[in-house]
Amino acid sequence: MSQTREEPASVVQLRGVDKAFTAGGEVLTAALSGIDLEIRRGEFVSLIGPSGCGKSTLLRIIGDLTQPTAGEVIVNGKSASAARRGREYGIVFQAPVLFDWRRVEDNVRLPLELLGMGRAEREERAGEMLRLVDLTDFARHYPYQLSGGMQQRVAIARALALEPALLLMDEPFGALDEMTRERMNSEVLRIWEKTGTTVVFVTHSIPEAVFLSSRVVVMSHRPGRITHTVEIDLPRPRGLETRELRRYFELVTEVRQQLRGGGAEEDVLAALDQVAAEEGSV
């Protein structure tokens, strides 16, 4: 992908971002608190944390699909909403969210149509994207004829159709079985290496986060804060052998410990210890 204009080194900058959900003036949930994050061009960053820690909300804030209650969000050198209107990112959800009534190739063409691209160019670009995800043979199929993993690949092809600087992925492989998931992980890395897009990847799975990323950002439980960042120094390109390296296991353990450290589990264990101590003394 060629970059002909001057582009900022940071694709995403978050400063002091808070998010609280309110109803009629009352605060219902404090989802995020004091998020400071910077993501540099070409990085593959994973966000990981316990359920409800706000990682999906954070992703949606970057994508201007919801607004923060405080703080600054800068995407590709401009405000998040300007970046959205400039169509500078692609998003992949946990479900493929394909349009049932469109064929696979028409689903990939959707963003191109919305941009007003001419027909010939649309067809060419969509074909390119399908080649990228290796689904050219299924271009004329309907979504229901494809497996879950294949549908997600179509969703990825669609997200990359406008060649955005940023790719947001919200637990995209959460609904797939373990084996398909590992295959898809390798696919995503292959695509990332080919296109050079910056990726923000939300996941529940520690092995997945470590395998894919340059950096894993660990979040605490609600209200979500960034508690730790683990730099992943595994060599690239990463493949099946990577999952067998000792360093891989060390990193997985480190991430797991960081998750526990910011989580409720320690508090619970400590409380149980206390109760046991008191009972023992009676």
Partner: protein
């Protein structure tokens, strides 16, 4: 419930339907055989042993009498057969119903679009759209015809009224049916509201629309018939029903033949919508 979406399954259900109709006809004649009026054909006579009130030749004509009546002149001193006359009346009724059907569909889609985009208008008016279902709308039919005159327009108004309600409700649901993430997706593309409507909401609502159209197809035919009958419109099936009912004693088969044609009209309308649905929704898997 398993769907008969495969042609083989469809052939089978048509076959069983035909078999059922034949069974009904056999039962019909059987009732007359057991308890109707005497059968006298070609010198052979049969006196049924029992006396069933409904099975007399007057109240339940023989199936072949009804069919035969279709071939005979509709009235003495007229050259067109009953069949021709009834088909003409059926076409007249169908036309009124079709105009109302199209108008009601457009109105329903329009209203639903407005309601989906304005919560305020929706809260103001949807309760009445729903409440109108509990009012016997069809009961207003003759009054509308009295008011607007016995023309094709007034009956079409009735058909429009009967169509727009199911279409509105179904379209509201259908236009709102897309996964919220699909809406997020469109927003991530900074799609215009028009693009979101035409490329996402409208295609998603089509299955819902067709469910409502199947109801409306028959409802508009029924509305047309009722509007015509008591309303005094001259050329449709409703008027034929009333006329042949008045002349029942002199020719019971004619009323039954009229009912047969009306039934066929209803089924044909439904089938038309069904075919349109199959053709338009071939993308989605059978639901």
């Amino acid at each position: 419930m398993p769907e008969a979406g495969v042609p083989r399954g469809r052939l089978r259900s048509v076959a069983t339907f035909v078999a059922f109709v034949l069974a009904v006809l056999v039962l019909w004649e059987l009732l007359k055989f057991i308890g109707g009026d005497p059968w006298r054909y070609f010198g052979w006579e049969w006196r049924p042993p029992l006396k069933i009130a409904f099975a007399s030749d007057l109240l339940l004509p023989h199936v072949w009498q009804i069919v035969a009546a279709l071939a005979e002149p509709v009235q003495r001193l007229r050259t067109d057969s009953l069949a021709q006359f009834l088909l003409g009346a059926a076409f007249y009724t169908w036309r009124e119903a079709a105009i109302g059907f199209v108008a009601g569909t457009i109105l329903g889609i329009g209203l639903a679009t407005i309601f989906v985009h304005s919560r305020l208008l929706e809260r103001a008016f949807v309760p009445y759209v729903i409440a109108s279902q509990t009012i016997p709308i069809v009961a207003l039919a003759p009054m509308i015809v009295f008011a607007f005159g016995t023309s094709i327009v007034s009956v079409a108004i009735v058909a429009t009224y009967l169509t727009f309600f199911p279409v509105t409700i179904a379209m509201i649901r259908g236009l709102r049916s897309p996964d919220p993430r699909a809406l997020d997706l469109m927003r991530s593309y900074a799609a215009s509201p028009g693009a979101i409507f035409w490329k996402l909401r409208m295609p998603a609502s089509l299955p819902y629309l067709f469910t409502a159209l199947k109801i409306s197809a028959t409802a508009s035919i029924v509305g047309a018939i009722i509007g015509e009958g008591p309303g005094g419109v001259n050329d449709g099936l409703g008027r034929s029903i009333i006329n042949f009912n008045n002349q029942y004693i002199s020719g019971p088969e004619k009323l039954w033949a009229t009912i047969l044609i009306a039934a066929l009209l209803g089924i044909a309308s439904y089938a038309l919508v069904q075919i349109a649905e199959r053709w338009t929704l071939r993308a989605a898997p059978t639901r």
